[in-house]
């Protein structure tokens, strides 16, 4: 029995197996946001449906849900009714939509067809999205009354997921 081979071999096997088992069950697509727990980057953007400029800092004191989306994003179509319904039911929560790489016409047409219950802001060159670490759409950030991001959700949300994350902002 060659001890060296055995010991080295077992170490290698253990290392490989440990690493791979640890990797199972994780979703490789999901990225943890480093902004969770940090103050939300401030911005002030023009709302396309109402024409006013919404400043994030002015919303402090209320929990804020910032939803990044675009008209060229297919899953966003599915998510929109959920957001609108929840926005109507939760007047104490400020919903804000941010659209990037899109045109006002397309956004207004979308909102006209599918309804809107909260300001939709235009982030013309996507810089706000970059500052928030947005990769794809839709992505939603939950901000508490003090202006700290408490959660980020990637992908279209259902009402349950929305409520679950909102609870963190209400604490």
């Amino acid at each position: 029995m060659n001890r060296t081979v055995l010991i080295i071999g077992i170490i290698i096997v253990a290392a490989i197996v440990f690493v791979l088992f640890a990797g199972l069950g994780k979703d490789p697509q999901h990225i943890d946001s480093p902004l969770v727990g940090k103050p939300a980057p401030p911005f002030a953007l023009k709302a396309v449906n109402t024409g006013e400029t919404i400043d994030l800092e002015s919303l402090r004191g209320k929990p804020v849900i910032v939803n990044f989306w675009a008209t060229w994003c297919v899953p966003c179509y599915e998510e929109h009714p959920t957001l609108v319904a929840n926005a109507r039911q939760l007047p104490d929560v400020q919903f804000v939509g941010v659209v990037f790489n899109d045109t006002e016409d397309k956004i207004n047409r979308f909102l006209a067809e599918r309804g809107s219950a909260y300001p939709t802001l235009l982030d013309a060159n996507g810089k706000t999205a970059i500052a928030y670490g947005v990769g794809g759409v839709p992505e939603t950030y939950f901000i508490n009354r003090a202006g700290t991001i408490v959660a980020k959700y990637e992908g279209p949300m259902s009402t349950e997921i929305l409520q679950e994350n909102l609870a963190k902002a209400l604490r």
Binding site: N2, V17, L24, D32
Partner: protein
């Protein structure tokens, strides 16, 4: 009905392979000739079942039998026939069935070729192969069953992944890859047999090496095809992104190449047997790791199938084979070792050792880089990336060292040589290397890495050609005529040697082409309105318009460009009007929006000539404006051709030597019969 029949076949194959494995191992332990015969029968039976099951699946696909779950999953009446046939390996379950199919054929063929030889090893080898077969049959029967029934059967299916229908290369790349991957099981079985038997006899070295070389050829070509496909289809102008699944295919290739080299020392000097066996086992284990990485969903990759139950199952198998290999090695490696010696470390033998060192470092680096993010996340909970900048930085020096060895290694003679002799063989190729370097410099090469590559490459080319020339020169010295001497020396007798040097020649070209195409690459991003031209890298590109095309699975916008020689009324730079001289060709890159995908996928247009590739990719299309990326890449096409040359060299080396007849009558020994000796 079809589904049921398929399930029956798979269950039968689980039974046959498991029983066969037991019988084979017992036959080996008992050294029973009768047991060996039965092992062979079970091997053929397993193969037969796999072939029929695959046939049944193809039949179901072609007849669009949507009652079979896999067909319902990837089949469609809307796609052309070749897509239907190819969809056998387009999705997870079918691809495992395909794995079993190839494995069955390999096992049957190797068993048949060796049916009357190596009786002391074959039972153990068959036992190991059938154990692997049993695992894959189990996978097919259980977590990855393509033969489940769908009731009621739907009338239509979604068709295979649209990305896979994009290009003809997708037809050959997966089968080649499987032929390479799965083929590594065979030398693994042989190696296990040698370890179980406690010896690795001289006569067994050849089948061991041949069984490694054949899958190596397929794997070499498969990896190149993958890179070529990425280059032609993905639009970013590159062919290797160090994506985890790409790395997974490279790892076994590296260890197999190292094993092929140490096997030469093994045959010549009888040393490094344990090490070669370890490398062969590693090559097989890395293919299982590779298949785990592709199918488990653990890695973020373009190739990833979605996460499924199959991941943990493969991991358990991987753990089992890892332990099997380690324990077997620990128990038996000493009985293989220490049978010879080398005369001097500074010799060809020594160079083989250094070659292996660098291949192992290469393998380790790629492996560490690929799994490191996983480790960090497991241990610290943080996500980080290890991407191309890392791999390029770490791997380029190792590759350059290997190119250096490609020259110096074969130049050095076997055994001990005098200092004078060493200088005699090592210095002249330096001249060729310097010449190549100067030519490169004159042609505009300024990158240090590429210049060094040209120097080493020229050196290695000189040595390779000199070594190829050697047997021919010896014959010409003896007085043979040129042509018959050429054929005899290279193709009839010296095939292994000649084939090896052909591979080396191809490898040198690959190294140089990679260096040149990476460092001499130039690109330009430009936006053109319809009718506008721009001149870049010797061609004038004129945007002539777009065209919409709707196909069942995608919506494409095709942009048309005229490529012409510059030299119209408005020379260089961006110009209005139809600039440029004689029309050379048109290029049609496109943007495809697939129903299933979030982002549009671009297909580039590539115009290849001998010296370089002119590559056009659409960045964005808005109305009459086209934003395009033009890349000029010298020598890219050489990479594909040179790898094919490497494959050809491997095949030449594989052609078995003619059987010879000898009559030997030694003086003092008892008489020996006239016999044909293999």
């Amino acid at each position: 009905m079809t589904a049921t029949f398929g399930r029956f076949l798979i269950l039968a194959s689980v039974l046959v392979s498991t029983t066969g494995a037991f019988i084979a191992y017992a036959a080996g332990a008992k050294r029973s000739p009768e047991g060996l015969k039965w092992s062979q029968r079970f091997a053929y039976a397993f193969a037969g079942l796999m072939v029929i099951a695959t046939g049944v699946m193809e039949y179901a696909l072609i007849t669009h039998d949507f009652s079979v779950q896999y067909v319902a999953h990837v089949g469609s009446t809307q796609v052309p026939l070749w897509v239907t046939i190819v969809s056998l390996w387009s999705s997870l379950e079918g691809s495992i069935l395909f794995w079993g199919f190839i494995l069955g054929i390999y096992i049957a063929a190797t068993t048949w070729v060796n049916r009357n030889q190596h009786q002391e090893y074959m039972p153990f080898a068959i036992g190991t192969w059938l154990s692997c077969g049993a695992f894959f049959s189990f996978l097919i029967a259980g977590p990855a069953n393509p033969f489940l029934s769908v009731i009621p059967a739907p009338l239509e299916g979604p068709g295979p992944n649209p990305l896979l229908q994009n290009h003809l290369l997708m037809i050959i790349h997966p089968p080649m890859l499987y032929l390479g991957y799965v083929g590594m099981t065979i030398p693994f079985g042989f190696a296990a047999a040698a370890l179980l038997r406690g010896r690795l006899g001289q006569s067994f070295l050849r089948p061991l090496r041949a069984s490694l070389l054949l899958p190596w050829v397929f794997l070499t070509i498969a990896i190149m095809l993958g890179g070529w496909w990425a280059y032609e289809v993905l639009g970013w102008g590159g062919y290797w992104a160090w994506d985890p699944v790409e790395n997974a295919s490279l790892l076994p290739w590296l260890t197999a190449t190292a094993a092929l080299h140490s096997a030469i020392v093994m045959e010549r000097r009888g040393v490094l047997k344990g090490w070669t066996v370890t490398l062969i086992q590693a090559s097989f284990l890395l293919t299982i790791l590779g298949t785990f990485m592709t199918r488990s969903g653990v890695f973020n990759s373009v190739h990833s199938f979605t996460q499924s139950a199959i991941g943990p199952t493969i991991l358990i198998f991987l753990t089992a084979v890892l332990l099997f290999s380690v324990i077997l090695l620990a128990l038996r490696i000493d009985s293989l070792e220490a049978e010879g010696r080398i005369e001097s470390a500074v010799s060809r033998e020594g160079m083989f050792l250094v070659n292996n060192l660098f291949f192992v470092v290469f393998t380790f680096t790629v492996l560490v880089g690929t799994v490191f993010p996983l480790v960090v996340e497991a241990v610290k909970g943080k996500q980080m990336s290890v991407g191309r900048p890392y791999f390029d930085a770490m791997v380029v020096p190792v590759g350059t060292a290997l190119l250096f060895l490609l020259g110096v290694g074969p130049a050095l003679p076997w055994g001990k040589t005098s200092r004078k002799e060493m200088l005699r063989v090592l210095l002249p190729p330096l001249i060729t290397g310097a010449v190549v370097l100067i030519i490169g410099y004159v042609l505009g090469v300024r990158s240090a890495w590429t210049l060094v590559t040209l120097l080493f490459g020229g050196y290695a080319a000189h040595v390779t050609l000199a070594q190829m020339w050697l047997p021919l020169r010896q014959r010409l010295k003896k007085g043979d005529a040129f042509a018959p001497a050429l054929i005899d020396a290279q193709l009839r007798r010296g095939r292994r040697r000649f084939g090896g040097y052909v591979v080396h020649a191809g490898a040198v070209i690959v190294f140089v082409a990679i260096a040149v195409s990476s460092t001499m690459r130039t690109q330009q991003e430009v936006t053109l309105t319809r009718g506008q031209s721009t001149t870049f890298a010797g061609y004038t590109v004129t945007f002539t318009g777009t065209e919409e095309r709707t196909e069942p699975h995608r919506q494409s916008t095709i942009a048309h460009f005229n490529i012409s020689k510059p030299g119209g009324p408005s020379g260089g730079g961006t110009s209005g009007g139809g600039g440029g001289g004689t029309l050379i060709t048109t290029m049609e890159p496109r943007m495809n929006q697939y129903a299933a995908m979030r982002e549009p996928i671009g297909t580039p247009a590539v115009y290849s000539t001998i010296g370089r590739d002119y590559y056009l990719s659409i960045m964005n299309l808005q109305g009459d404006q086209a934003g395009i990326l033009i890349i000029n890449m010298p020598m890219v096409g050489w990479i594909w051709g040179a790898v094919l040359l490497m494959g050809a060299g491997g095949l030449i080396a594989l052609i078995p030597a003619r059987k010879r007849t000898y009559v030997v009558v030694p003086e003092s020994a008892p008489t020996i019969d006239d016999e044909a000796i293999a």
